[in-house]
């Protein structure tokens, strides 16, 4: 053996020893973990190796990780799932959401609020989903899943959305089950001006593909009956979005004019209809949400309906919508469940929204700020609150993709030594 070989062997042994001493790439230490799917709500350290959760335990030695982030006083949770967004961003001048300006590119809006998975709510249909995939999904660091619109061209414009001749359950189901089962989680029905024809086709597609349907049930003048929607058209597991919208001229509300939750709405929830917030630019009013919360009608999923018309208005971001519910009396762990384990269950992606060993390392770190905060609804009314959720750090597949205060970074002077 030549000396060179000796040196190589020694170096290899050292490297091996080093790897054994530091089996983890990243250790998030000292934080309060809320991981509803694994029943955890307490002090836990989370260790990441490559893109995977390697260990979750009350106390993991700092020496075992190449990089350690001190999370004392902070919360950590599975990377958030925003189950209702519009991210089919494009520049087609005649389009509004499909390949249009109303959609946003996801990475610029997700990681900063702890979101690692979004579900596009029917921006595309079976005709233009391939374009959406090439243009946005394949190019995003954010995990983008989607509900496929029952309308062939998705949300190209209001006119295409009325065309029953281009709502084809067989085509939609085929795309979900055969072509893109890894991305497509369900079917969307929205913005229809007629009766129940569109939602019925969406449910037909949902049955054919065995996936849930999400329904935006506005824009009917006069409004169609949501009681009939819940009991005659949807199935348990199907999703009603824009739950706390107030626009009684074109959308039946869940809370009546005397501020009472309609009893059949609770019955629908009991039967398994899933209620999604879908805040958006026009679909969240405190005059609906506050009485509903007080009377025990809570949403199953908290989501943003992110797009250009909502992000600068009352919605802002997912942390802001979560904070509204926190200030309306929902305990923090219940808020977290509604952006992690619950949506994961609703879209049947149980591996997401949880931090068991072996799960993909999608993690968010946030703090709950105390102070005087105001929260806007879409009609310009304010609710005062005392707590605000602020995301600090986001990990997507083991990589730090957002670090508001540089918590994971070394001090700048360290490179001068």
């Amino acid at each position: 053996m030549t000396p060179n070989r000796h040196i190589l062997a020694a170096a290899f042994a050292l490297a091996l020893a080093g790897a054994q001493a530091q089996p983890y790439d990243l250790l998030l230490k000292g934080g309060h973990l809320i991981d509803p799917a694994n029943g955890r709500d307490g002090r836990f350290d989370v260790a990441v190796r490559r893109d995977t959760i390697a260990l979750v335990a009350p106390d993991i030695p700092a020496a075992q990780a190449a990089r350690v982030v001190d999370l004392k006083g902070r919360y950590l949770a599975p990377g958030l799932i925003d189950m209702h967004v519009h991210v089919f961003h494009g520049n087609h001048p005649d389009a509004y959401i499909a390949d249009g300006y109303t959609s946003v590119p996801p990475d610029g809006f997700t990681f900063r609020s702890g979101v690692t998975t979004v579900v596009d709510a029917g921006s595309s249909g079976w005709r233009n989903f391939p374009q959406f995939k090439k243009q946005t999904i394949d190019r995003s660091k954010t995990r983008v899943l989607a509900f496929l619109n029952i309308a062939g061209t998705g949300m190209a414009s209001r006119f295409e959305e009325q065309n029953l001749d281009d709502m084809n359950p067989q085509q939609a189901a085929y795309m979900v089950t055969r072509l893109h089962p890894d991305i497509l989680v369900g079917i969307k029905s929205a913005h229809f001006w007629g009766g129940f024809e569109q939602v019925d086709r969406a449910v037909t597609a949902g049955r054919l593909a065995d996936v849930p349907v999400i329904v935006d049930f506005g824009e009917h003048q006069p409004p169609n009956s949501i009681r009939s929607l819940f009991f005659d058209h949807l199935r348990p597991g199907d999703i009603f979005t824009h739950t706390y919208s107030y626009g009684p001229k074109n959308r039946e509300t869940v809370v009546d004019e005397d501020l009472r939750v309609k009893p059949f709405v609770l019955e629908a929830q009991r039967r398994g209809i899933v209620f999604d917030v879908g805040h958006g630019g026009g679909a969240f009013s405190f005059r609906q949400a506050k009485p509903a919360m007080e009377q025990g009608f809570w949403p199953d999923v908290i989501s943003t309906d992110l797009h250009t018309e909502s992000m600068n208005a009352g919605m802002k971001d997912l942390n802001n919508v979560m904070s509204k519910f926190l200030n309306m009396g929902m305990p923090l762990k219940d808020v977290v469940a509604r952006v992690t384990s619950y949506p994961a269950r609703v879209i049947r992606r149980r591996a997401l929204g949880q931090l068991a060993v072996g799960a993909v390392a999608d993690i968010c770190v946030f703090e709950v700020q105390e102070g005087a905060f105001g929260f806007l609804d879409v009609r310009g009314f304010r609710m005062d609150g005392s707590r605000r959720i602020q995301n600090l750090l986001t990990v997507r597949a083991g990589r730090i993709v957002w670090d508001l205060h540089g918590m994971a970074a070394a001090d700048w002077r360290s490179e001068l030594k």
Binding site: G39, D41, L266, G296, P299
Partner: protein, 422 residues
């Protein structure tokens, strides 16, 4: 109506009804031609812990309710008379811990073959009310309602499991992502007449999540929490720390590896158990197949630690093992030194109070006529625990008659029947 019309109506009514309700020519009223009561239980020893009544009384039943309780009620006032002389008359028993979500699913409790049909087992035990201990959750409670509650003559109430699909086996029943959904709260509100508490148990993963969820759901609906065991990762002291006055922990005399036993080797009770009792936490016996051990029960009872209620944990297997029936569990408690009033209270009024149903579990005029009649047999009777050990008692309770809402649902010797040949 004008005064004239009113007068005409009065005259017409007198003409129509007069002959039936007044005697002719002003004679003294005749005795009523029809009996006032549907059934008279005559000559039994009435034991009603709520009122403290204990003695020889007649009990008259009419229209589904207890119409009268008195030292002596004229048998001529009843259409049917059952002599229960020498027998014990109590309120229909309330079994606070059962699994009755019977269905066709093999090897599971929820909608499965491990549960039993209440009407096949309860009347012959003197049981008129059972509480299903969380066999269903919100996803299948309405199936329990449809399949069992509605068609059963036995009154079936339930603790709702925090697991969405109840006791449907692992891994579903310990999926914390399926706990606490708003639909469960909606279920509590919609079925407040049937759901009497929140059940938590059978969760082998680390963490206290299920107890937290159960606590919040119970508090939001102002219902008690019912803790079954099989929570191996949560120490007993932590479980007890979650419980408030009126909450219930079952399997109190269990001796298994997954939960610290209540009684220490020196025969004394754990301090945290005594502390919990002193602040009003209730402890159910919850016999079941493995939940009852003389090594625990006998020292505890000697130390004055009596179970709050005598739930049987009736299911397919426990029925055939050492549990057998609620009267058998009561008899076993007599054999261990509890008194008859103590035993009867813990199978009637105490469970009714625990589930906050003061309308049942007692014998009072106006109450639903849920009544049990027992023979107290005397002799040498063997009673066995989950460890296969036997003790011998001198008394055994066996149900002679059961009434549910005034209907005879069990009548071992035909006491309420007409004699043949008359």
């Amino acid at each position: 109506m004008s005064p004239v019309m009113r007068l005409r109506l009065a005259i017409a009514l007198c003409l129509a009804l007069g002959p039936r309700y007044t005697s002719a020519q002003g004679e003294a009223p005749v005795s009523p031609p029809v009996a006032r009561y549907d059934l008279l239980l005559r000559g039994g020893r009435v034991l009603d812990p709520r009122s403290g009544r204990d003695g020889r009384y007649d009990v008259a039943v009419h229209d589904g309710r207890i119409a009268r309780i008195a030292r002596r009620i004229d048998p001529a006032t009843a259409r049917r008379v059952a002599s229960v002389r020498g027998l014990l008359v109590t309120a229909g028993l309330v079994d606070i811990h059962t699994h009755v979500f019977a269905g066709s699913g093999t090897g599971r409790f929820a909608d499965g073959t491990s549960s039993v049909n209440p009407d096949q087992h309860c009347p012959m035990q003197g049981v008129t009310t059972v509480v299903d201990a969380g066999t269903s959750g919100w996803r299948n409670f309405e199936a329990l309602h449809r399949q069992v509650m509605e068609p059963s003559r036995t009154r079936v109430l339930a603790f709702l499991n925090i697991a969405g699909a109840g006791m449907s086996g692992k891994p579903a029943e310990e999926d914390s992502a399926d706990m606490g959904w708003p639909a469960a709260r909606a279920m509590l509100a919609a079925h407040a007449d049937r759901i009497v508490g929140i059940k938590v148990g059978h969760y082998t993963r680390p963490g206290e999540w299920p107890l937290q969820v159960a606590r919040e759901m119970a508090d939001s609906a102002r219902l008690p929490v019912f803790v079954e065991c099989h929570l191996p990762e949560i120490p007993l002291a932590r479980q007890l720390a979650f419980l408030r006055p009126g909450d219930i922990m079952t399997h109190c005399f269990e001796q298994v590896s997954e939960r610290e036993p209540f009684v220490l080797p020196d025969g004394s009770l754990r301090a945290e158990v005594l502390e919990a009792r002193s602040r009003g936490v209730l402890f159910d016996l919850g016999h079941g197949g493995a939940g009852f051990w003389f090594d625990q029960a006998i020292p505890a009872i000697r130390a004055g630690f009596l179970p709050s209620t005598l739930g049987t944990d009736m299911h397919r297997n426990s029925l055939q093992a050492s549990m057998k029936s609620l009267p058998s569990v009561m008899s076993k408690c007599l054999a261990m030194g509890m008194t008859l009033p103590e035993v009867v209270a813990r199978a009637t009024w105490e469970p009714a109070r625990a589930i906050r149903r003061p309308d049942i579990g007692h014998l009072a005029e106006g109450a639903p006529a849920d009544i049990a009649v027992f023979r107290i047999e005397r002799g040498h009777f063997g009673y066995v625990d989950a460890g296969g050990r036997r003790i011998v008692g001198r008394r055994r309770l066996s149900a002679e008659m059961t009434l549910r809402d005034g209907r005879v649902t069990w009548d071992l010797q035909g006491r309420s029947a007409d004699p043949w040949g008359r």
